[in-house]
């Protein structure tokens, strides 16, 4: 079997390495246009070359051993040794990118330089002379556009060819042809160092090692085990150079590299004269977007736009979610833009569906009003115990003839159902309902939507029909329809909202705005002693908390890294978006901004939590430096945005099948069986295992306003996956008789609190800001490096989530006139403690 050829894909951060890697290997690695997205190297097989492995290295600016990314790349390039290097360079910033390229060239490996973003270079009217660069750096140079998938494969083919040739020609003692970029005295000193270290390092990279020794790179000097006498001799040469050039060795190398690049650029780069000294479109946009005062409001505004589209009433997200929840995944839907006329014989014949619903509601209201009046009449003079509460099967016609009720029809704005006069502030319609009218009203049956217009049955209806036709027992039907399908459908019903959020984020990322957000947050966080580097994992966390926690590895400072791990998951991830979407749809339809507020609260917790943690001796210290390159704004490609969106959405849908489905099956069993494993009737749910488990811990949620067994079960099950909270609520609601799942969930919160909206808000806040799902917690423990720190992270997150939910509910109740109690006092005490932790003087600890 032939040995595989290893090609290293190396370049500056944000130069397009991962985009090229994906194009070359057909992978779907995450691409972000901010630094720190790739922390470790990734492997992939080059398309059409089974024996060629492409290795995507983290983006770095030099081969110094300072950051984790630099260490990973340097270790691989120098010690493991790929067969060739594909150096990807940003053509729009070629001068700065060449610094790293000169270092790569010194490694003595076959190298092809792929000058990326040539489409933008050409559009700008700039010209790059590849031949001159190739000659100066002793490598091949080709122009590509990774985003448009142009030239990348040709560059890869070329580097593979060079690698194969090098493997054949490889032999001991062969000095590579590497560029000499330094002045005479420095080259002289390097030549002496090369002599001293000969035999200790591979000959092909001897120049790179010699330069590192010249720079007094401790790691390399230690590795080469240079003797004291020899080092003394080398030091003399270095000092001579330093004396002659009036600078320290490392600075000499850096400045002479830049001199070399400057001269090379003068010869090979011709910038469009008309563009020189002219502000680009990106510069003009950045004047507003990164403005000292406007930046943050613009960021919040962009979040508001996203949430408006996703959850505002009559917005695309809500319309599609309603269709998915009530139509596609449930009973079915009418084909839009067709008439919905009734085809079946009967009272509704020829009537439009909406009119039929209205007519039925009116008849139903007449029926209810008359029945209420009848019951009142026959209960007259009876004691409470003797009163009849339900309509008897046989009506006393004599009594009935005396009754003329007042029909009331007022449509509830949310449910479309008639509501009682006393609950309605507006003047209702009133009409007389006598016995004859009652009998007429009783004959009206709820209109069957499938008899109107072109009706497409939903998946829920199809499953139910299939089970009915197969003669499946009620128990098994309940397991499938209410349990497995019910839970999964509740989660899938919010795909439209998730889709809008993900597509909006993908657009912001791809156009270059998210990199600005990192810059804005760095400026904000730095004021409080935090680094913008900590915000990068949090940006990633908007998709999923797991990669967010792992992205914190890019932070060198251990204290800052731990703090970032603790705070990263406070940004509501994709799964938490489902909770936001459900509660926005059920409780805050007209207050869509509550959804955007959750993101703002997440960011506020990160900032305030960071400030509080920084003031403890465990996290005190200076903020680490943060180098961020702002990419030029550009219109994202449809395929790029789709790729980002689909990758995330796919995970969400997969999770519904792999996590939510089995979890719902288990939940159905514990909800329908008691501890002796007896099957329970719907009305016996209070004997169920789930009821008992939920009840045991419900007291913990009592102060938060949702201290019911259902609320407790939903909150605990959310640790499996955050969207499981919605699935569990859907499952519990499916067990209740009557209207829709949504109205049951509303009723659930109304049954435990006089302020159901506040209880719902508290539930949402609690589930968004307590520790993330189990997988993210496991990764947190691993990244924190010890059990102690893992528990600290979980404890901190639990404290923040609980205090926030307690404050939202208790202070909200107080403001709404619900009175002051012991829990309100506790909320104030805990809030005061948090304020003290944020505003107290910080510890000054050297780190």
């Amino acid at each position: 079997m032939s040995k595989s050829i290893k090609i290293a894909l190396a370049g500056n951060p944000n130069s397009g390495k991962t985009t090229l890697f994906n194009a070359l290997t057909g992978s779907e690695q995450y691409v972000g246009n901010w630094p720190g997205v790739t922390v470790e190297k990734k492997d992939g097989i080059l398309s059409g070359h089974k024996d060629v492995v492409i290795q995507d290295l983290p983006g770095i600016y030099s081969l110094s051993p300072y950051s984790i990314e630099e260490k990973v790349s340097r270790r691989f390039l120098v010690e493991e040794g790929p067969d060739a290097i594909l150096n990807i360079v940003d053509g729009t910033n070629i001068e700065r990118n060449l610094y790293f390229s000169t270092q790569l060239a010194e490694l003595g490996l076959p190298m092809v330089m792929a000058v990326n973003m040539m489409d933008v270079v050409k559009k700008n009217g700039d010209k790059i002379d590849f031949e001159k660069i190739a000659k100066a750096l002793r490598c091949e140079v080709v122009g590509i556009s990774a985003l448009k998938n142009e030239g990348g494969m040709e560059a890869a083919e070329k580097v593979v060819e060079m690698a194969k040739k090098a493997v054949v020609e490889k032999g001991p003692g062969k000095l590579p042809d590497v560029p000499h970029v330094f002045s005479g005295s420095v080259e002289h000193a390097i030549a002496h160092i090369e002599e001293s270290i000969q035999g200790k390092v591979p000959l092909r990279s001897i120049r790179w090692y010699a330069i590192k020794v010249f720079e007094r790179d401790r790691e390399i000097i230690k590795k080469l085990e240079i003797g004291v006498g020899e080092m003394k001799h080398i030091e003399e040469h270095i000092r001579d150079c330093e004396k002659e050039l009036g600078d320290d060795a490392e600075s000499i190398i850096t400045s002479q590299r830049y001199d070399f690049i400057k001269k090379l650029m003068d010869k090979s780069l011709a910038l469009n004269e008309t563009r020189k000294d002219k502000a680009t479109l990106s510069d003009k946009i950045d004047k507003f977007v990164t403005h000292r005062i406007l930046a943050l409001p613009i960021f919040i505004l962009s979040l508001c736009v996203m949430w408006f589209l996703a959850v505002a009433e009559h917005g695309p997200g809500t319309v599609l979610t309603d269709w998915a929840n009530d139509g596609f995944l449930a009973d079915g839907w009418h084909v839009p833009f067709t008439t919905h006329e009734c085809r079946a014989e009967g009272k509704y014949k020829g009537m439009e569906f909406e009119d039929a619903q209205g007519e039925f509601a009116k008849q139903d209201a007449s029926k209810s009003a008359w029945e209420e009046a009848y019951l009142e009449k026959i209960n007259e003079g009876k004691s409470d115990d003797d009163k009849v509460e339900e309509m008897p099967e046989e009506i006393d016609e004599k009594v009935a003839a005396t009754i003329v009720a007042k029909g009331v029809f007022v449509e509830d704005e949310e449910t479309g159902e008639p509501i009682a006069k006393e609950d309605n502030e507006d003047e209702p319609d009133l009409w007389d309902v006598d016995f004859a009218a009652y009998k007429e009203a009783s004959e009206w049956e709820e209109p069957d939507p499938s008899q109107f217009g072109v009706w497409v049955p939903g998946l829920g209806a199809l499953i139910t029909d299939a089970l009915d036709k197969a003669g499946v027992s009620d128990t098994v039907k309940s397991l499938v329809v209410d349990g497995a399908w019910g839970g999964v459908a509740t989660v899938l019903g919010f795909v439209p909202v998730i889709f809008i959020v993900f597509i909006f984020l993908a657009f912001l990322e791809d156009c270059g705005y998210m990199a600005r957000v990192a810059f804005i947050m760095d400026r904000l966080l730095r004021r409080f002693g935090l680094s913008g580097k900590s915000f990068i994992p949090m940006l990633i966390g908007k998709g999923c908390g797991v990669p967010a926690v792992m992205a914190a590895r890019a932070i060198e400072n251990e204290r800052a890294r731990r703090m970032t791990v603790i705070l990263a998951t406070f940004v509501p991830c994709g799964a938490k978006t489902v909770i936001i979407a459900m509660f926005a749809a059920l409780f805050f339809r007209e207050q869509w901004y509550v959804a955007a507020l959750m993101d703002v609260i997440g960011i506020a917790i990160i900032i305030l939590g960071g400030i509080a943690l920084k003031k403890t001796r465990f996290f005190a210290g200076e903020a680490s430096s943060f180098v961020l390159e702002l990419p030029a704004y550009h219109m994202p490609t449809v395929s790029g945005v789709w790729h980002h969106t689909w990758n995330r959405l796919k995970g969400y849908v997969l999770k519904a099948g792999l996590i939510i489905f089995p979890a719902c099956v288990v939940l159905w069993f514990v909800m329908h069986f008691d501890w002796s494993l007896n099957l329970l009737a719907d009305e016996e749910i209070e004997k169920s295992i789930l009821h008992d488990l939920g009840s045991w811990i419900a007291w913990m949620f009592e102060p938060l306003g949702f201290g019911s067994w259902q609320g407790a079960a939903a909150s605990v099950s959310a640790e499996i996956a955050k969207e499981q909270a919605t699935a569990t609520l859907g499952l519990v609601a499916a067990n209740m008789d009557g209207a829709t799942t949504g109205s049951h969930i509303q009723a659930l919160f109304a049954s435990v609190s006089d302020f159901p909206k506040l209880a719902a808000l508290s539930f949402m806040v609690f589930n968004l800001f307590v520790p993330p799902c189990m997988v993210a917690i496991a990764v947190t423990f691993r990244e924190m490096g010890s059990q102690k720190w893992g528990w600290f992270a979980v404890g901190f997150q639990l404290f923040v989530g609980y205090v926030l939910a307690l404050s939202v509910y208790r202070i909200g109740v107080l403001v709404a006139g619900g009175g002051f109690g012991i829990w309100t006092a506790l909320a104030f005490v805990l809030d005061a403690f948090c304020l003290w932790a944020i505003f107290r003087p910080g510890k000054k600890v050297e780190c």
């Binding site: 470790e40 190297k41 197969a470 098994v476 397991l479 990633i540 797991v546 990758n647 792999l658």
Partner: protein
């Protein structure tokens, strides 16, 4: 609706078996490849323990 003994007939058994198979497949997939996340990757498929395709070295 549901009370006492579970009513069982052939079609109910078939449905139960299908649910059981799907359940087992889901659990097996998660145990083997790890839980999927919103980046579309799989953690267990990654060469590095706990890795995920959106941030680490693996292909799903």
């Amino acid at each position: 609706m549901l009370k006492g003994e579970v009513e069982m007939n052939v079609s109910s058994l078939v449905v139960l078996v299908v649910i059981g198979i799907f359940f087992a497949l889901a659990v097996w997939r998660v145990a083997k490849k790890g839980a999927p996340c919103e980046c579309g990757g799989s953690r267990k498929a990654c060469s590095r323990k706990g890795g995920c395709s959106c941030c680490d070295c693996c292909e799903d």
